[in-house]
Amino acid sequence: MGGIATREAYGKALVELGQENPKIVVLDADLSKSTKTSDFAKAFPERFFNIGIAEQNLMGVAAGLAAVGKIPFASTFAVFAAGRAFEIIRNSICYPKLNVKIAATHAGLTVGEDGASHQAIEDLALMRVLPNMQVFVPADAAQTRAIVRKAAEIEGPVYIRLGRSGVPEVFSPDIRFEPGRGTVLKEGKDVTIVALGIMTAKALEAAKMLEAEGIAARVLDMASLKPIDRELLVESARLTGAVVTAEEHSVIGGLGSAVAEVLSEEYPVPVVKVGVKDVFGESGTPSALLEKYGLTARDIVAAVQKALTLKR
């Protein structure tokens, strides 16, 4: 898939933050070499805490560190962060609105060969539903850096979803990130494609394929899943009359649901979702998995064609 993985960019951004702000502390649950918090551990060993294979305690300790004024980044794989530790995140981080940043790596199917047990396809749904939680999903390395830096400035809980595999560059290195603001990556009048994470690059690829068929797609990156950019969604729906969403996540509860929630209340148009269709993944290479589970540019093109037939 080429390019730098978002987890690699996360590791580098953490070291930058560590140099600038002594309040930054980092926690991991025995996966620091995979989550790339090992970069920070090497640079600032006294501010790095390995909690061991204990994700519930990872989140509880992070909450306690935040309560005494630290800015903790807690990392592990998304399936354990959002899944296993969910109720600690709910009651000890989100309810008291503590300043904890959860940076979860190895999200989605592109975990690859480890298989379904390690492929989080529900983390965005779980995190999005929590009051006080903000949820960000970077598409590439540059956006990851911008998001990680912004997360450290925000007062309150943040969930950042990161991937294992390399992703192509989408944004320029000096990109800025604002919570609640989406980005128009390409203009078009016939349909809107809203994407986040690894699917943003695929949405651009799909738009190019559609152009050859004479269909002009507007492409939005919605890295700020929560708060979501309601204005931009409504404007795009009004402009194009049909929306397709694309995410490396279940079609239940993630980006597609969030977009449909906004548009059904504010500007109803057909919304067709590209995502994992309420099934678990399996072992395989990332590209074979994306192919099999319908997460390619071609799948986005097919969804656009369906959306256009539903358009009134």
């Binding site: 502390v25 006294e46 501010r47 805490f49 909690i51 061991g52 204990a54 519930q56 305690n57 989140m59 509880g60 300790v61 992070a62 909450a63 306690g64 560190l65 935040a66 309560a67 005494v68 004024g69 630290k70 903790p72 109720e87 600690i88 009651n91 000890s92 309810y95 008291p96 609105k97």
Partner: protein, 280 residues
């Protein structure tokens, strides 16, 4: 010293009276496990902890985390008596628009250091606080009160392992070992024994005391402060419902409120005890 101990006994008695009134007035709440912890909270809030009600966010203050968050009445009573908020708040416990939620909310109540209620989590967050304070070389200590049923939660042992691993000698845990949980005696529901051996093997210094004996509580807290190698747990043997004879050792008073006539009976018993303390 004798005078100080008498004073702490009177405070504990006062906290118990508040607990009964609050739970009675709310017609809801957890009296049993609040009464069992009253002597411990009296010692912590009125003798041992370095806190300042006028400056509740003072950086180097000692922290108290009520990990057994359902004992909120006794915490609210101690905070009100210590001057963190007006005592009038106590009558609003568990009512709509009140800062005094069923389980403690750190965003709503000055002096509450952590929002708790989901068992085991307060202990884990206390470990995080102790870790952060140690990193800052703060003189502050962290006190955390656990229930005996609560230690059935897996996160407690994850956190215990971490507390010992990071040698958190600024952390003192206190186990309110009253022997009863909602479904019955802890040893029948899910036997936690041997409790002292478990904590010792997890790297804690263990001090076992009578949790209603004020001098023993004071001595144990002092000993914990002097233990520099790592964390300490004080296993406080207590009586659920302590101080109200019809509630003592009765599991049905874990989470049910006394009726008005029972409130009157309990208060008159506590008041009689108070007058007897004065005579002694």
């Amino acid at each position: 010293m004798q005078e100080e101990i008498l004073n702490l006994k009177l405070i504990a008695n006062q906290l118990r009276q508040h607990v009964i009134k609050m739970v009675g007035e709310a017609n809801s709440g957890h009296p049993g496990g609040s009464l069992s912890a009253a002597d411990i909270l009296a010692v912590l809030f009125f003798k041992e902890m370095r806190i300042d009600p006028a400056n509740p966010k003072w950086q180097d203050r000692d922290r108290f985390v009520l990990s057994k968050g359902h004992a909120s009445p006794v915490l609210y009573a101690a905070l009100a008596e210590r001057g963190f908020f007006p005592k009038e708040w106590l009558s609003q416990f568990r009512k709509i628009n009140s800062p005094l939620q069923g389980h403690p909310d750190m965003k709503k109540v000055p002096g509450v250091e952590m929002s708790t209620g989901s068992l085991g989590q307060g202990f884990s967050t206390a470990v995080g606080m102790a870790l952060g304070l140690k990193l800052d070389r703060s003189p502050a200590r962290v006190y955390v009160l656990l229930g005996d049923g609560e230690i059935q939660e897996g996160i407690v042992w994850e956190a215990a392992m971490a507390a010992a691993h990071y040698k958190l000698n600024n952390l003192t845990a206190i186990l309110d070992y009253n022997g009863l949980q909602i479904d019955g005696p802890v040893q029948e529901v899910m036997n936690p024994e041997p409790v002292a051996d478990k904590w010792r093997s997890f790297g804690f210094k263990v001090i076992t005391i009578d949790g209603h004996n004020i001098p023993e509580i004071i001595n144990a807290i002092d000993a914990a402060r002097q233990h520099l190698e790592g964390p300490t747990i004080i296993i406080a043997k207590t009586i659920k419902g302590k101080g109200v004879s019809f509630m003592e050792n009765r599991v049905e008073w874990h989470g049910s409120a006394p009726k008005p006539e029972q409130v009157a009976e309990a208060l008159s018993e506590l008041q009689a005890r108070r007058e007897k303390l004065w005579e002694e």
